[in-house]
Symmetry: D2
Subunit: 268 residues, 4 copies
Amino acid sequence: MNNPKNPETQEDMPEIGEALKRAGITNLRTLVKITHDSHRYKFVPNITITVDLTKDKKGVHMSRLIESVTEVVESEAEKLHISIEQLEKRILNRLAEKHPYGRAVIEMKTELVVRKKTPVTKKPTMETHDISVSMISENGKFTKKLRVDVVGNTVCPHAMQMVGKPHIQRAVGILEIEAEYSNDITLEEMIDCVERSFSSEVYTLLKSQDEAYVIEKMFKNPKFVEDVCRGIIYRAKKTFKGCKINAKVISQESIHRHDVIAEGEAVV
Amino acid sequence: MNNPKNPETQEDMPEIGEALKRAGITNLRTLVKITHDSHRYKFVPNITITVDLTKDKKGVHMSRLIESVTEVVESEAEKLHISIEQLEKRILNRLAEKHPYGRAVIEMKTELVVRKKTPVTKKPTMETHDISVSMISENGKFTKKLRVDVVGNTVCPHAMQMVGKPHIQRAVGILEIEAEYSNDITLEEMIDCVERSFSSEVYTLLKSQDEAYVIEKMFKNPKFVEDVCRGIIYRAKKTFKGCKINAKVISQESIHRHDVIAEGEAVV
Amino acid sequence: MNNPKNPETQEDMPEIGEALKRAGITNLRTLVKITHDSHRYKFVPNITITVDLTKDKKGVHMSRLIESVTEVVESEAEKLHISIEQLEKRILNRLAEKHPYGRAVIEMKTELVVRKKTPVTKKPTMETHDISVSMISENGKFTKKLRVDVVGNTVCPHAMQMVGKPHIQRAVGILEIEAEYSNDITLEEMIDCVERSFSSEVYTLLKSQDEAYVIEKMFKNPKFVEDVCRGIIYRAKKTFKGCKINAKVISQESIHRHDVIAEGEAVV
Amino acid sequence: MNNPKNPETQEDMPEIGEALKRAGITNLRTLVKITHDSHRYKFVPNITITVDLTKDKKGVHMSRLIESVTEVVESEAEKLHISIEQLEKRILNRLAEKHPYGRAVIEMKTELVVRKKTPVTKKPTMETHDISVSMISENGKFTKKLRVDVVGNTVCPHAMQMVGKPHIQRAVGILEIEAEYSNDITLEEMIDCVERSFSSEVYTLLKSQDEAYVIEKMFKNPKFVEDVCRGIIYRAKKTFKGCKINAKVISQESIHRHDVIAEGEAVV
């Protein structure tokens, strides 16, 4: 400890010699820039970045985690093409230069806006989905976890069979995929797998004719929350390879105060 | 300042001479006991308790607010009948002895469980509603604010007229009433005003025949979010007198990602 | 009803003749573009847009509210300078052409990223604040409500006086200002009013020397939650004119499970 | 299908033959009664109850999950002693009679109020903690997951070493334990493991002398979020046997907008 004014307390031996799985920063919100098809996108994700900690180090140098994020965001922003995944990989590489780790993880949670046309009147509409992109660096290998939360609906097939009329409600479908870094999986394809599995996809804008179309589609496709969950797994298995799939659907029942839930997994 | 070990910093003149509307404790969760029809109820509400602050006092003695709550809860618990409203009034009276104020407010947020029978099979079911009871003491006068958040549904009348089939979704109806302390208003009556205004009330338990009944009722009562809001105001105006009414309904649209909302007010 | 396939159900006379204060869309998330100092900004706010409803109209044409937002966002995006306030005013003007109203309100909630330097090492850091910009159109007059939620801290002066050591905690300061449309108030100035009122402002990045500076500043500025609230009101009164001010501070006490709160108002 | 009015749609073959890990009810809030040391406790937990679903059954009979909960709550309430764990085991046994499953899980999330004395003035105070008790039934074997979320604080040892003054903040420590049903683990012991690991435990009520005591204790025990996490693991390993331990601590930094986090695991 040569400089008493700036002790490296984090390097001290901890009182309790336990290795920790992860330590770091969470709920960090900072400006991130990516470039996609020569369009520049700026957004403010909620970021978590952590490293593992050996049993002989008291703490993580937290400011180095922050700097790894902000420095890479600044220096890479001018690139012609950089995705969230590429950015995260570079942040974890930069972090390795600043702070030794065995395993590091970064997650960015934000939203993705998809431009669509309404189904009948073909008016432009923008659909916003919650997404999360995580990158794990371990033993020089990069693995990613991608997640989309997509809004849709369920139309009860039991009620349809029983009284010829269904109860209908909003549902949220969540698809998570774990794969190697190089596995080319787009969030748009993931969103598509979820949307196609509902009784109908939903739209931000619906003129009367579009609304009629969506309702007719819902009534033709009665689905339990379990059916939607199986549909997501089925479509994800067909679309993606070499990955782990987790699908979860929560249906906000219109005839109950509680929600119903279904969850399933697959490895392809 | 006779006792240097326990300075009354709160009594100091503040640097900036501004009177404050309220200062105190929020997100306090403690055990509360009430007695209703000789049944003892214990619950853990989320409590906010505040007083106004004159421009010549630096701060509120926060521990006296806490003590007013806990002492009254302990001493009043053995009473044969004490409601949340009565308990809150006594807390504000106790507080006046401990801490001078011009205006004090206490709010308790908790849930109310209502026992019902399912509509056809007559099975017992318990329905849980979020509620809030606030008491305001000002110039020796007590005023209360009561709020219920009740889950139900909307069935779109426009879609019903247009294609003979509706979209249906969960909706939340919120009724707030402001009245003098002595005005006899029950939370159960308030919940009833909201429930009757939906396309149908909902149930925690529904056997198949009950479900059929609820669905038939929904299809016979298509309602916009605006209709539900007007229904709540209409029923509250008929049921309660000498009070201010605020009704708000949020419908979690099954064909959209966003919600629709309606709000109205009345004085009776 | 000439076209049975597209009935204007919303224009029907409602069963219950109550005028509503507001009805519309909430939790709408769509892409918005503004231009500031020739920089283009894209963001995805959470939007609420409502109109009042007379007692002779059954419902609001909800899709016209959506279209007013999306059409103005598209058409105005190429402008050399357009702020959130200007965009909102144009949306309410566009809405007036599509849907009659007496009073309309639009709110956009998003975050504002402010670039700063760390206090000692002068490293670049980005500070993210929650903000909300609302516009009200009533009788041809536009009024706005601006809100910033800023993170800082409180350092207890009572503990400091009593034991020479304080308890310290994160606090959130909220400043809301209501003013005429033309009143030139920046969110950055509002954030500044709040930040200067804490025991110290906080930073996303702090190297050791910066951290030492912030801690010394905190210890020199012990403040109750009431002091912070008064500071915000004092600074807002000095900075802004012709407006209503509301300040609220919530301190996440480090020695308690609950929070403490202070709130005050002023008109200048 | 003998009774066309009540088809067993759930028993149909699903279109997509995927087995699901779990399907059922979530966010169910109903009244639950337990008896502990001859005291009766009533509370309204948030309940999730799910079963796995084979690939040849379209859906779960959701009302049977609800009935298993409510029937057992009613019939067992008069017992002299029944804990949440015992109640959950009986619910899963009752469910097995109503609905076949390979694996069923029930979780109840609620709060636990612990009576304490303030450290110096010995005044009574009540401390409320979020807790969760889950039971898993699989192949006739019962496993449980217990979780406590406890509020405390961290006092930065790096700042203490560097400038002789710390930054201090609220922190939340979360301890999760997975064990066999018969393993006797109390939530109170788990809360104790977490509380002792902070720089100081916190109290709902603190008179000035108590506050002085807590502050002195905090300054004598500077701890990183990593130190608190290690402390919880160390204490849990000493206290409990034959179980899996997971500890997570989130510190709401008073000098930053973001939080810091540490997480570790152990098997004993």
